[in-house]
Amino acid sequence: MNNREFEQKKAKRDRRTAAIGATAVFAVLTALYAVLTDLTHVLDPVLFPGLGVILPEMARSSGELLKGFLYSMRLLIPSLAAGILAGVACGLAVGMHPKVKLVLMPLFRALNPVPPTMLIPYAIAVLPSFWLSSAVIIFLGVFWPVLMSTLHGVVMLEPRWIDNARCLQLTGRKLVFKVILPGAMPQIFAGIGSGLIFSFILLTVAEMFGAKAGMGFYVQYYADFAEYGKVLGGILFLSVVVILLMTIFDRIQRRVLYWTNKR
């Protein structure tokens, strides 16, 4: 018990140290940028405007950035959720039936590495709206890693857990939701993690051609007018959003996978 409390405290302390370290690195980089731009003007002032330009620009267009954020989330969240759900569901269904898996695996292996960005022109041609084609692209970017990791998670399930479940006469939904899904969760979360990062990339890429608003659209739009203060401000804003989303993801993961680090 005491040992556990000690470990928890240590983990907390480690996290705090990491946060302080990361902030320090960020501060040094910011200071370096300030030195290279505002103070010494070593970098080209048009392509690399100083912080004195970027920050006021961000403040001025905060309404536009917020609107872009909401537009982006309206595209990202449903696509992400659908990708995760479909990936996990297909992964469980196929993973639990070895014969089906044997038949489908070559197909998965062939389709999985196709970069979703390659499908963008085709998706736009086939699908009726910009929103839908972007959503499908993001969906695919999330679906494949989650599907593959779920399949892997089902394979990696400890045989003794399955024995245990069989002895308890667990079948059907109980078996899936009480044993197989939680047992495969560590791998599933690894897949969701890479899917999540992929989804940010795809989101901004998709928004850069044909969107009416969004964080990627904002950056692309002002780049066309060579307003690099706004471009950098938009990128900065986007990275803050990504950091926040990743933090939420980490929190959820720590909570769901509570049991793995103290087994």
Binding site: R160, W161, D163, N164, R166, L170, P182, W259, R263
Partner: protein, 267 residues
Amino acid sequence: MIECRNLTVAFQNKTILDRINLGVADGAFLCLLGQSGCGKSTLLRTFAGLLKPTSGEVFVDGKAVDGPEKACSVVFQDYSLFPWMTTGKNLMLALTASFPQKSKAEIRNLAESYLEMVGLGGVFNQYPAALSGGMRQRAAIARAIATPSKVLLMDEPFGALDPVNRAMLQDLVRELHRDSHGARTVVFVTHDVDEALYLGTEIAVLGSSPGRVIALEKNPVSRQLPREKLFENESVISLQRKIMDIYRSDMNEKLNLRESFHSGNGI
């Protein structure tokens, strides 16, 4: 209660169990003794329906075993509880599988009372990882006896425990079996002769490579003596000696096999 006829298990041409014939009477406590790798766990797995024998048959409660049955509950060495659920939820999962008609509140109460019965009153909301090995095995036993199974199969359940915990859990299992008044048959796998003498009403010794029953003994005092008196009893001492001798000769046989193999190679 359990009967196996000409039971043979082989993996890739290697015979693990060779034509085992063994019967376990209703209410008996059979200890399966044998050195590691002799196939005693494999035999238990065929009883549990987790493993299909290559040939031969197993009957539990008069029915041929074909997959895990409700009649059996199993306690494994250290993985009977799912690590992602609290101890209480682990019990509740087993209970809902056995009593689908009971309400959630009833199931919860049952789980709590069985945990209390094995001396784990306060751990309902704790994850298995937060418990000690002994507490986890207690919880696993609580789970096994909470279901209305007639047969309790235990696969070296105390193998990973310290001596104090082991003794306490042996007492617990002995008590639980006694209190069931013959309603529960136990098959207990161990490699510890003293443990088998303390717990078993019957003791079967499995020889190795391939696994077969080389001795089946009735415990002369079975359960009448407390732990401290057990090894003062003449008949227990002579049985202990006999089993040890059988054990030793089996081990020697295995070693001799190796020796002849080596000498055959000119070493």
